[in-house]
Symmetry: D2
Subunit: 347 residues, 4 copies
């Protein structure tokens, strides 16, 4: 027998309606025109995620009225596309039922075992920047002192087992209003062409077309369409690699953070930001001072985490532009990014 009462539906609609009309979380430190920066104290490792409160999370959760879940993670295996500068990955059967029984190296378990019980486990060699990720604030560094967010320096906080400040395990569970900006959809393409630079105007146009408004504290996810080519496990490197170079410009990142208060910015590419064609690379790096100026700005200067390879295809198909975003990184000390994640959007 269904026990849900008719009043529940009415109430949920009412709550959702309230959220939509203006429940933007009040910001603690964000300033319009400036964003955040190193404003959270000398020991801070969280950056803009400090804005989250019980109230802000509760407001985001009220967007999850239907209980419908969108899985934003992509499936990873040894063949999956990744930035070639990262280490490769293997998932290897470490114990198998046959191996366990043939070796007999654990006699205390396998004697007196009438059910013939055994197990599978795997050993992995894997990089912390693969598949669906959230970059920790220690991922990018700059300066001759190799400092990262909040001025943590390599000579003080480096180590052999990953950065000792702002590693990915410091990222708290992220629960916030999520907004999809479907740039590919707005531009009427399956996936943006290689080396597409997404400007503030492109973002505004897409938001306008969608009828979506940003609020300070949002998780903003920008769709290029690259992940329509992920397939099962991202094996088509050539196609993914082509579209993967589309992304936001430094100006777009600034507009999102300083003008709109985006608390976390993600996309469906491996690096979020615009990657110029090889022949334009030198001029670009000279102009912006870095081969990845959006990373420098977001991670180092603003303390804004970056979401990568978030699968936005289903959200786009359903025009689900506003949702509750939930992401929980793996808790591995020293990792530079949360990886092979399964963030979810809930409506």
């Amino acid at each position: 027998m269904r026990t849900r009462l008719w009043i529940a539906g009415i109430v949920v609609v009412a709550v959702a309606g309230l959220a939509a009309v203006g429940a933007a979380p009040e910001m603690k430190k964000w300033q319009k025109g400036k964003g955040w920066g190193w404003v959270w104290g000398a020991q801070d490792e969280l950056g803009s995620l400090n804005e989250m409160t019980d109230d802000s999370r509760a407001a985001a959760l009220r967007l999850a009225k239907q209980g419908k879940v969108y899985d934003l993670g992509v499936l990873y295996d040894r063949n999956s596309y990744k930035w070639p500068g990262h280490s490769p990955g293997e998932i290897i059967a470490f114990r198998t039922p046959e191996g366990v029984k043939r070796q007999g190296d654990l006699p205390a378990l396998l004697q007196d075992n009438p059910s013939r019980t055994a197990w599978h486990s795997c050993a992995l060699f894997i990089n912390d920047n693969v598949a669906t990720q959230i970059d920790g604030l220690g991922h990018a560094t700059e300066g001759d002192d190799d400092h990262w967010y909040n001025g943590f320096k390599e000579k003080d906080w480096g180590g052999n087992w990953g950065p000792r400040k702002c590693d990915a395990s410091t990222i708290p569970p992220v629960i916030a209003r999520g907004v999809l900006i479907d740039v590919a959809g707005a531009q009427g393409v399956d996936a943006l062409p290689p080396h597409t630079a997404i400007s503030p105007g492109d973002l505004e146009a897409a938001l306008q077309k969608q009828g979506t408004k940003l609020q300070p504290g949002d998780v903003v996810l920008i769709r290029t369409g690259t992940l329509r080519h992920w397939g099962e496990t991202g094996a088509d490197h050539a196609t993914i690699g082509r579209h993967d170079s589309a992304g936001i410009t430094l100006e777009a990142a600034r507009w999102l953070v300083a003008e709109q208060g985006a608390m976390l910015i993600g996309s469906d590419t491996s690096g979020l930001e615009y990657n110029p064609a090889p022949e334009a690379g030198k001029a670009y790096r000279e102009k912006y001072g870095s081969f990845m100026p959006v990373h420098n700005y977001l991670l180092i200067e603003q303390g804004v985490h970056i979401g990568e390879f978030h699968n936005l295809e289903e959200l786009a198909r359903e025009k689900a532009y506003e949702f509750c975003y939930v992401a929980c990184t793996n808790k591995i000390k020293g990792t530079a990014a949360g990886f092979t994640l399964r963030p979810i959007a809930i409506r």
Copy 2:
């Protein structure tokens, strides 16, 4: 300015009240006295998690009225306690700012780099059964044919890169009503003594004391208190190891699934189930036919996933016995368990 209207609070309370009074999700296949079993079709890899629906998730999310989050994951590093039969773990700095610059092996990035930008990334060698986990339904096997849940056999679905059916990447996002059964709390101890067997009666007594009622479809988390000894990264192997042997008996697992409809069962130990003292091992294995009869019953026979090393300390301290449980496993093909997870309880 706070924009939240006074009516929101009232509405939320009303919704929560409804959930509490009886919004147990209707079960699709569960039968009292029997549980589930291989009832979901020959190709099924989800088991009891098939019971989740938009409605069940929405009901669970309505428990998250305050937006307060409890992080149930434990922090993992090379020194963390784990079952010794698993492979060891290392998190190693793969790229560091100094190394990147000294090697100069990526000239296309590092020339024309006035900001002196660089990065950190790590390579990991890690086991898929460490830290906070959810066992996939392919983890445990039995029989001379080494089959697992739903009759998938090693000769058909084994492989070098992990089981090819019921690997952990098949576990959908879990969003359900969560219930803490604080057995250690009910028995007035910090942590249960070594080799404590938790019986159905122990569970009932604790529930009674808490004033909590189980519902079919619940995620049931059983606290032994072992993780009070985790410290920062689980380095005190001796102490953790002692308490880690406390757990539920096969009878308790049966009561939870067949009588109460528990959809996922977890605890704050590495293996959930009672582990007898060495001198009692042989008799135990002969009686139950396996060195891990609860795993056989839950994973293989019932298709019920197992949660391990879930940190329940904060929930217990706050007597937070009912909550919305959210867990999203890493999406790595072939893994036998989701690992180093950060499930959350939300109230």
Copy 3:
């Protein structure tokens, strides 16, 4: 002051002369026209290497009259060419002086350390079939029972940590007369064209041109010229890959073993044997019953180890066709091949 007496020179020349005129080691089990096979007893893991004796080694060592050493190993790093079916490789700084000091995780060493002493060590993720190798007799299998040399079967001797019979650690130090057959040199090319099939006649022609005679018990090394393209670390995969497909036919392998008594056969390619062009692959496999019939014949049927990626360039340049071959595999239990070796030729 040089202390070597004039008589030494005379004596050494005399010894070398004796070796050259006929000191072929007497064979224990080899039969002309048949070779070896499973003739060494049911527990044997050495195959034809059982032919080595103190006398045969002493005779080989007498070829090393000048003390000149040729390093036959190629340098391996993460970028080195390898067969793509093997796992990738990374050599990662595990401890560095800066990391050790910054982390301070070993206070017992680093306190009271006025010299500021520290260290480097590396962690490696590596495959056992890379760079200069000697295949163990358990590397190749055939039949529905997946047996290898001497009838060892997977169901009996497989395991999760490598084959438990005939792993590479069972290969004894190899000290034997070595003979270079410079096929590329004899054919007047830098490196043999892709998919060159080296026949018995090609080997005989090269030996004739060199004026070299084979003896039973020889280590025979066949030069295709592929490794002229190794460069520092084998980074030019395209060029190496092209030439790497040249190799001996099954007929050539048979001639070497059954007619000439070659005890170990190697070359300067990743797999020794002829690899047909893709369009010829199906017909080839149907004719020979295997995608690697030379491996089946040598490793499984004859118990003759295979040497791979032996760098023969310097030997060829100096027309050093006869020498003392010394190779000692790493002693790692379970490995299917000795890898990243540095065999030497001594004259």
Copy 4:
């Protein structure tokens, strides 16, 4: 038919006799009372091994008159004893015949495969300082500039993938006269007691008892007896660890290098040098300025490589005090030590 002529035996005896009476290689740079030091030029990475010449190798090879080989390597697996500061090791079946066939992920090989051919290969996660080793000259560092042999500094020659000067791949094949100093034997014990400090006098007494004389250019191997406890794979950590603390003092290292001209010094322990008991550690480090002063002296100051975990048991049993030593390190760029080696002694 035996073809070896009677004259060969006579000649070999004559050669060996000559070697014994005084064929010590002439040294290029060694000075009695001083040893070597940074005398080989600013780019040198070989240190004292520069002393090897064709003549010195030929003289050493003449000691190998019988062709009898002693395997000095110990067998390594996941359970083998190692210094706990190094990363752990796993040898894992990467491909197995059953896995290859079940997965069917390489259809081009496995179709048209009537012989049902397949293969084994392994993936390894391993440290470069395990089992039988030769430390590269970049292994130990000192000073605030973290320099190693010849003044190579971390800021110039460090990197993420191991030191870029004096890595183990730069170690040439070592062929030299080897001398065993059986200290345990001379003292009449199976293995030296824990924390035994071997002094110059202990070495002299053992040499005297053996009737052995050192020559400049020797590889000197010092036996503590620790490896009598290695067993198959070094699994008895407690026993090995106890005896492993015996070793030479700084004074003994100086006597060997500066007075005797030892070109490479090794032993049957994991670190060659005396390791004081914990309670004596602070005073020791203060006196000698380092927790491993013998490493500082040999590797950094003198450019003398160190051999570790060389199995000297068989040599000791046979009182084989003089022999031809041959060691060839794996050729892996960046490794700090050659590891899992199989050096040999030949008589």
